[in-house]
Amino acid sequence: MASAQPADQTHYAVKLDAPDDFAAWRDAARVLVQAGIAPDRVSWTEPGGSDDLFAEGARALPQPPANAPTPRVNKRFLSLAKNAALHSDPRRFALLYRLLWRLQQNPRMMEDKADDDVRRLTELDKSVRRDSHKMHAFVRFREVEDAAGEAHYVAWFEPDHHIVRANAGFFMRRFANMKWSILTPRGSLHWDGETMREGPPAQRGDAPEGDPVEDLWRKYYASIFNPARLKVGAMLSEMPKKYWKNLPEASLIPELVAGAQTREAQMVDAGGQNFAERPDTLAAIDKAIHSCRNCPIGEMANEAVMGEGPQDAALMIVGEQPGDQEDRLGRPFVGPAGQLLDRHMELAGIARSTAYVTNAVKHFKFAQRGKRRIHQSPTAKEIDTCRWWMESERAIVKPKLVLALGASAARAMLGKTVSITKARGEPIPLDDGSELWITAHPSYLLRLDGDARLKQEKLFDADLAAVQERLQELIP
């Protein structure tokens, strides 16, 4: 055997007995390193591996020199290698050997994260860990009765890598007092409560078809999902489709996703105002509007102003929104516009104390100018939102006639914008048999001067007179 220095260029073909036999790789690798066999002179094959055909060379390992030092191994390398060896990449053992070889020259090579071999090792390790993790997560046992009439739990799982044996411990620690089997195309595990037995590869048909508890589980899966938060991408990245066929709950996914929008819309609808019960007393409405933030006006941190007047009033008067003084005093129509209204009502012979007076919008919308708060008209959307409260008041008071003052009030009553000039002076029948009359808002009158003011006051008086006349007819 002696001799020639440049010498031996033998190629070695190492055959492993099992694809997850890391110990055998380690033993062979140690000898090869000690014998100084460079990575390009070694090929590694596993049972069934496609490399089998091409791997030619000496089967017997070389004899390392007696004084050869034990190869250096880095701790981190060892733990990564052990796991990466379970990968199904046929070149993994060659990679491990190359790394081991290079590690002898550069013991700190593992720290170089930008090195291609180190990176590949890390990748292999990562995908094996992921596969193991998925096995822990996605094995689904089904209960069957064994020959002795006892419960036996059987699962079917399809791993990507050679991880079955390595994960036996996890399932033993977890399901210690159960009898179970995990069947996979790469081998099977059987635990009887005391000992672990390994079995040959299995087929899907060897595992049971279903389990009554799966209906409960599916119901749980469907119920715990919040359709308002659909994020299919996030789900797919963690639970890729390839696993779905063995997960009983996955069959629900398409319909859950397809139905999510409708369900969310229903939730929003149901969460909307129409669904919630209207408060059934004026006092309850009063309380509720104080904490209402359904529209941005509510966020202006004002007091809400509730309507006032007899609960059985035949006439309901609806204004726009509380103004500065109303907001301070917490009562409707107490400012200049209210005083103007009072005067004209008196003129028309309507006692204010007999009417229920309220506003279309319950909070004061304003713009701050220094110390002054300048009135701002509510938007159509705000009126539509707040309308719910006025409607609730109306449902309790049940007036025979509603007088809407100005465009905002008219919108709150009709749900659409109408022109005061066109709509005034004529009754508009409402759904519940009562009728709506529309006129200008007194604050509009306050803004006019001279002839224009006189003209508008006349129109206003005429409208009030018509209302008074109509009221006489309606009240027997």
Binding site: F141, L216, K231
Partner: protein, 415 residues
């Protein structure tokens, strides 16, 4: 009306639990049922997500309510007294049985149990504790248990809960006391914090005892957590982050969860009709990470907010901070300290660790950094390497636009 079946109850009581964001089953002590203790179940430090729902959230625990009957009337809550939802009620035994059935089939890591308040807070708390007792004592269950405790309950009962559970949580519900007063009139901020303080004391005491006596009982080894509802009141992100940081400091919380207010059927008229954008919740979680793993102080996260006190929605809070403090960049990846590198947008904790390790062996070039990061484009304006210097890039007025993810792209790759 006939008695409800288990599956009907499960539907109602799981549905009622879906608004709760906390779900994790991590960070508890390691346990196994193999060997002398026997029983069933294990925990291995890291929780396992056994399934994912189409809302992207992981399912690791059976998350249910014992009952959705409630004597309280909190506006944001689907179970409040005045809501019209269908009601159901499990017994502790039923929940324990269900947990075991699911656990044996490997659907879950354990149980996350909370409840509407029935009869009284103490009565409810007793029922929650009883469920955990059945699992732990009668079945030697070693899986994970998270109990949501009722702050108004007797502290003794809350303590008992901690002896059975891996984690206990007490929801602060709303970021501001004013919000709580308005939306949860039956709840009291002082009482909630008092209960948290009690749990914190028990956890600390149990840890001390464990050091001295090996067999001292464990108390909530996975710690305590809380949840805040985001978007139901007008609290800004700055308010929320501030509150979270006070909670972390004051009560030693393991986690603060954020739950974007979700439209609930039969909502109270006091609530907004629409949910806040989910991305807001995401940004809050990112800011939480910055505080827990990246060494940002709460005040620094607040600096990243826009004028309205909210974090930008189009970019993440770390990038937002960096854009506001451009003077601190670019950083030389071959020289900068770990703390500094952690501030570079696009560099995660892992990437920073790898940079630190690798630069002992080589002077890093841009290519090397690219191998260690997800997106070098995002990192580039903020770093220098041996062969790269961003010049004026960091000063460009449109840098934010350049780095913000494009909307169309998001659409394309989502789902």
């Amino acid at each position: 009306m006939g008695a409800q079946t288990t599956i009907e109850k499960l539907e109602i009581l799981a549905d009622a639990a879906k608004y709760d964001a906390s779900c994790a089953s991590s960070g508890t002590s390691k346990r196994s049922s193999l060997g002398k203790g026997g029983g069933i179940g294990s925990t291995e430090g890291m929780g396992i997500c056994h399934a994912y729902a189409p809302d992207g959230r992981c399912i690791s625990l059976l998350k249910v309510l014992l009952t959705n009957h409630c004597i309280f009337d909190c506006h944001y809550c689907i179970n409040r007294k005045s809501s019209n939802v269908r009601r159901a009620r499990f017994t502790p035994q039923e929940v324990a049985d269900l947990t075991l059935s699911f656990y044996r089939r490997n659907y879950i890591e354990g149980l996350f149990l909370s409840s509407g308040i029935i009869k009284s807070s103490n009565h409810t708390m007793e029922q929650l504790v009883e469920t955990a007792r059945i699992l732990r004592e009668e079945h030697e269950f070693r899986g994970y248990i998270h109990l949501k405790t009722i702050p108004e309950a007797d502290p003794q009962l809350v303590h008992l809960a901690g002896l059975y559970a891996d984690r206990v949580s007490i929801n602060v519900e709303l970021p501001t006391d004013a919000g709580l007063t308005r939306l949860a009139p039956d709840k009291d901020a002082k009482q909630i914090e008092g209960a948290m303080k009690g749990v914190k004391a028990s956890i600390r005491q149990a840890k001390d005892e464990k050091k001295r006596f090996k067999h001292a009982p464990r108390f909530a080894p996975a710690g305590q957590s809380t949840q805040m509802i985001v978007g139901a009141d007008k609290a800004s992100d700055a308010d929320i982050v501030g509150k979270a940081s006070r909670l972390y400091d004051g009560f030693g919380l393991r986690r603060v969860y954020y739950s974007a207010f979700s439209p609930i059927p039969d909502a109270s008229a006091v609530l907004p009709l629409k949910r806040p954008p989910l991305i807001r919740e995401h940004r809050l979680y990112q800011s939480d990470w910055l505080m827990r793993f990246y060494g940002y102080r709460a005040s620094e996260v607040m600096q990243a907010t826009d004028d309205d006190g909210n974090l930008p929605l189009d970019i993440d809070p770390k990038l937002a901070w960096a854009l506001k403090f451009r003077g601190q960049f670019p950083l030389d990846v071959n020289r900068a300290s770990k703390e500094e590198l952690l501030r570079v947008p696009g560099l995660g904790v892992k990437a920073v660790g790898q940079i630190l390790a690798s630069r002992r062996h080589r002077t890093l070039r841009l290519d090397d950094v690219a191998k260690l990061t997800v997106s070098i484009a995002k990192v580039r304006p903020f770093i220098c390497t041996a062969d790269w210097r961003p010049l004026t890039l960091t000063d460009r007025a449109d840098l934010r636009a350049l780095l913000a993810p494009r909307q169309e792209q998001l659409e394309l790759f989502a789902a």
